[in-house]
Symmetry: C2
Subunit: 214 residues, 2 copies
């Protein structure tokens, strides 16, 4: 069976849970509590020297890191319910939407970056929140512009079935809501995310539904 | 012909130039001067609402954004000189190494983030440099650990031919050197990058070799 080393609130782990659910794959989840520093213990750094979650252990016991690499692996090994379109241009579009979230938004607002701002740099809470909201607004403005203008956009980010673009969008929307970001300027994103959340595959992957949720 | 909208110093554009060169593809380059704000002009935001480089225009005139999505597109459409291994596990390893650079290092140290730190937040030069060096050290320490321990590491990050892992590593090493980062703790990365730079495909992609270099 597949094993996901995960933390309920990690956006990157959330992405992989959605992908696993959409592909109807059975997996067990082993929590790694980031707040207690369990990701820095040797048990975890042996799996991933970077000390991050998620790590997917394959059926043959190989440990895979980085959510995009894991999703591509799942797509290659478990082709049912494809999460990428069937043309190179379609795949490039979906990957670029997912990468916009993964490379331009999430890295700036994760736990270790916010911790560096308030800890090492000693900035106050208001400055930290302004930072958070700035990168969310910048990324979502670009994403909204692309999704609103592209004819490929459908019920989901690409057409009428979920793809990796939705897998990456939904956890970022959750995160933005948790930090009270105003999402009214992104009607297309809000519409797509609401549609995704009606699906049990997304709902069951949400932070609150995980065994380690507190 | 392929057209790359690019900026000589952009790490992400540098990646795509290496991939294009390794695949021996002919392309023309159109400079977008980030320092002059040309990426915010409508001519460019029409191609990419996010206002980033690189953008690859395909032979049929489609504009593709995000360096990883572009590289995967090139890999699919131009299979010569493969930049991904031939097994799903090998591909997952190479993608996760590339993503470590693309998601954990580069986003924190690009021009707009450094500009936000010194501009909006008003931090001094020393604090900005400490920030830069912190994320380089964190990322390269993890990358060095993985590359030094994995049996798949060869002359390059994965075996003895270049892959997307090298395509992403080399521009990040260039960048770190430009900011005077001490790289002595990363002997495996230094060795691999030195080996890459001996290849004309990497050399011709370097910032100083571009038509818009100043």
């Amino acid at each position: 069976m597949l094993t996901l080393h995960s933390y309920y609130r990690s956006s990157a782990a959330f992405r992989v849970r959605i992908a696993l659910n959409l592909k109807e794959l059975e997996y067990q989840q082993i929590p790694v509590n980031l707040l207690k520093g369990e990701h820095r213990l040797e048990a975890h750094t042996q799996r991933n020297p970077q000390g991050l979650v998620p790590v997917l252990e394959t059926e043959t016991g190989e440990a895979l890191a980085q959510s995009m690499a894991i999703c591509e692996y799942l797509e290659e090994c478990y082709p049912q319910m494809p999460l990428l379109p069937d043309t190179p241009l379609g795949r490039a579009r979906v990957r670029s939407l997912a990468m916009l979230v993964a490379c331009e938004m999430h890295p700036l607002n994760n736990l270790s970056v916010l911790g560096y701002l308030t800890g090492t740099m000693g900035v106050d809470e208001a400055t930290k929140l302004a930072w958070y909201h700035h990168w969310i607004a910048k990324g979502f403005t670009a994403l909204e512009a692309r999704l609103a203008q592209d004819t490929e956009t459908g019920l989901f980010c690409h057409g009428d079935t979920p793809t990796l673009a939705d897998v990456f969008l939904v956890p970022q929307m959750f995160n933005a809501e948790r930090f009270n970001c105003d999402l009214s300027a992104y009607p297309t994103l809000v519409r797509i995310a609401a549609h995704c959340r009606e699906l049990p595959e997304f709902e069951k992957a949400a932070p609150a539904a995980q065994p380690d949720a507190v």
